[in-house]
Symmetry: C2
């Protein structure tokens, strides 16, 4: 057996500690799978005194020195955030080291430049753990489906919001109440903004869209709406039409006036309870993929947590270690297609709208006319009358999002409309 | 751009024709992804006159000459069956060509020798299409989870039987009636033996077990029971306990007297309707994976059909083409763990048993005593009395399969038992 490959671990929080433990527990198997042993060269942390479980001679506060050490072959970055992770990654590439990262924010922010730096150095940049935790997803998209054309990727990629929405559906609670429960149980962080407002899902959507469509997509390109405006009424209305509310990350190829483009968006939506994504409950993640030849695929599993995330990191680590032993770099992520990102206004979506209206003849006609005036075709209408008031529940066909939102604005100002009680996009309906 | 890579296509049935079409349609994308164009060097068929869609100068009946032609870099084998596929594959390896195959029977029969031949030649043998059609499964098992320990793989890997069982559950039909419908609709072949008796699923189980546990497993090692004995009563009884009947391929690590082993089996079983596999209907496939760190994962998609299977073939083709461009072989399938296969008799399983018994005091005690005498612990019993007869519905805890089958044999001979109306294994119950 040849000399061991040496790994520099940057960061030793929940994921890093699990990576260390798995590397030790699985040493014999990893050696067999890589062809050489894989050993830890050092662990860079800010406060060495907080890591009594790590052998003292491995700990260092000088991450920069560690990643450029000549005996280090591979770098695992689980610090998170933009800096110093970005700078350390670039230093690793420049020194000829391959990098495995779980850093969705950095990859979504600066993926194109990082991939270019890795390619120039002839090393690997793998980051399966950055999206949907333990679920093998990026490798299948990049490699298994490399001979196919992806048309759509729809994912539940944030466990916190999925837990909150699942609880709202189960208990009838409002958003605030469900969030409070999630916080108490540790499913939501003290500052839940990144999850609840969709920032986390948007970063993952950007990474998925880049891979799926071989085009540069950054988090800032993603249309983003969180779940804090989802009401108990929205959830109840969804159930009435055989749907459930999920926060979806949607990446799709759209064809507009100027040719092919990519639409990338994160927002709550109603999906039919019969859709494979509808039964993905609690803190689980799942990603539904549509490809021209392969048809519909779904990948399901744990989206977060130290051990699941570490499993994904180690899968990548074995891959980059094998590449290092073979003296090659693996297939990189290319942006050769260079498709532009379509503005949300142009992206075709469908809306569900519930209205309280005056129960008198002609109201439906007036409301329907407003949709027609904006070029929005109606799929179904249900009208429930009760005394002076009636409820209209309308589901539209697909139309540009701007036409739909303009229609809603107009409806809010109509005398015949007492209240717009629920507006939510609908996905996956036949 | 460098010279094209040349592909020899062996066989041009449904899958082969789709491979040809996709290679042409996606030429630009495949070139971008591989780094060199990928072109068809020749198509070996038995009856060239039956393939007017293929340019005549590509067609040949001499497959052997085609795979060894010096200008051929890669071979795609979609002939199926054992010979001549096996001999052609070995000839391809000997001539230094990598092979992509969709041949589950051959891989399950002779995988170890074929992998050894590929490794010795320093070329690739990839066969994602052999198991679960378009679903990216073998690559995630082999690569994404390479840093984890798999404990269990449970799959619905045969669409024909899944369709039949789904229809039995929906309509209350018996097996023969549902099979007739499946045959009429083209979901079952004229001779349905390979599907209905579990041979197809057993071949896939052998391939999955080999990959998951890095050990040699052949189709002949797999305990196999088909679905022809599944009755409408079994399906109805399953529904009564909140379950549905599926034909499962189960590969798991078991620990017996002599240390770790692998249990590999294909048989119908009741699974809870809340299990992610339960909602996999019709001709879809899904594989549920449990790993120590990653936890539970599921992969879902189309398990058969020309286009989905061709998508998987092309994913592999892009991978082996990239390896060829890089001058390396990809990670092979190793059997380094060398775990033995556990006999079915020793494999722990759970049974559901429905009995018609005489409704008099002491019958339950007598029946329970029979389970206890074989060391089988009972999980739940439901007794429904009606006049002179009563029904006992028993679900056991896990016990060696031989102890369970011995118990059933004894029950069949007991005077107090009028009839054993349903016996089926149960999986996935808490």
């Amino acid at each position: 057996m040849s000399a061991p490959l040496k790994v520099a671990l940057l960061g030793c929080g929940t994921v890093g500690a699990s990576v260390l433990r798995l590397l030790a527990d699985q040493a014999a198997d990893i050696t067999a799978r890589v062809g050489r042993p894989v050993e830890v060269a050092g662990v860079a942390v800010r406060r060495p005194d907080r890591h009594p479980e790590v052998p003292a001679d491995l700990l260092t506060t000088d991450a920069r020195a560690l990643v450029t050490r000549p005996d280090v072959d591979l770098v695992v970055e689980v610090i998170g955030g933009i800096e110093p992770a970005r700078e350390l990654m670039l230093a690793a590439f420049a020194a000829g080291k391959s990098v495995v990262s779980a850093n969705k924010a950095l990859l979504a922010d600066d993926g194109v430049a990082l991939h270019a730096a890795a390619a120039e150095a002839g090393v690997d940049l793998y980051y399966e753990a950055a999206v949907a935790g333990a679920i093998p997803l990026l490798r299948p998209l990049r490699e298994s489906l490399a001979g196919d054309q992806l048309t759509r990727v729809v994912g539940i990629v944030n466990g916190t919001t999925n837990y909150i929405l699942s609880r709202m559906a189960e208990t009838g609670a409002g958003f605030a109440e469900a969030l409070a429960e999630a916080t108490e149980l540790g499913y939501a962080e003290a500052d839940p903004t990144a999850d609840v407002d969709g920032f986390d899902a948007a970063a993952k959507a950007a990474i998925l869209a880049s891979l799926a469509f071989h085009s540069p997509v950054a988090a800032s390109d993603v249309h983003r709406e969180g779940i804090s405006a989802v009401s108990a009424t929205d959830v109840a209305r969804a159930a009435e039409i055989g749907c459930t509310v999920k926060l979806l990350a949607i990446c799709e190829k759209v064809t507009g006036e100027h040719g092919d483009a990519i639409a990338v968006r994160v927002h709550p939506a109603m999906i039919p309870t019969t859709h494979p994504l509808a039964s993905v409950g609690g803190a689980f993640n799942a990603v539904f993929v549509e490809a021209e030849a392969a048809g519909q695929l779904m990948f399901y599993g744990q989206g977060a947590g130290g051990e699941p995330t570490a499993s994904a990191v180690l899968g990548d680590l074995v891959a980059v270690a094998r590449n290092r032993v073979a003296g090659v770099a693996g297939p990189g992520t290319t942006a050769y297609a260079g498709l532009p990102v379509s503005p949300m206004a142009d992206t075709p979506t469908r809306y569900h709208v519930s209205l309280d209206v005056a129960d008198k003849p002609g109201v439906l006609a007036t409301v329907a006319q407003e949709f027609a005036a904006h070029g929005v075709s109606i799929s179904t209408v249900r009208q429930d009358g009760a005394g002076e008031a009636a409820t209209l529940v309308i589901v539209t066909h697909r139309a540009p999002d701007s036409a739909l939102s303009a229609t809603i604005s107009r409806l809010r100002g109509m005398p015949a409309v007492r209240a717009v009680t629920s507006v939510l996009r609908v996905e996956g309906l036949a």
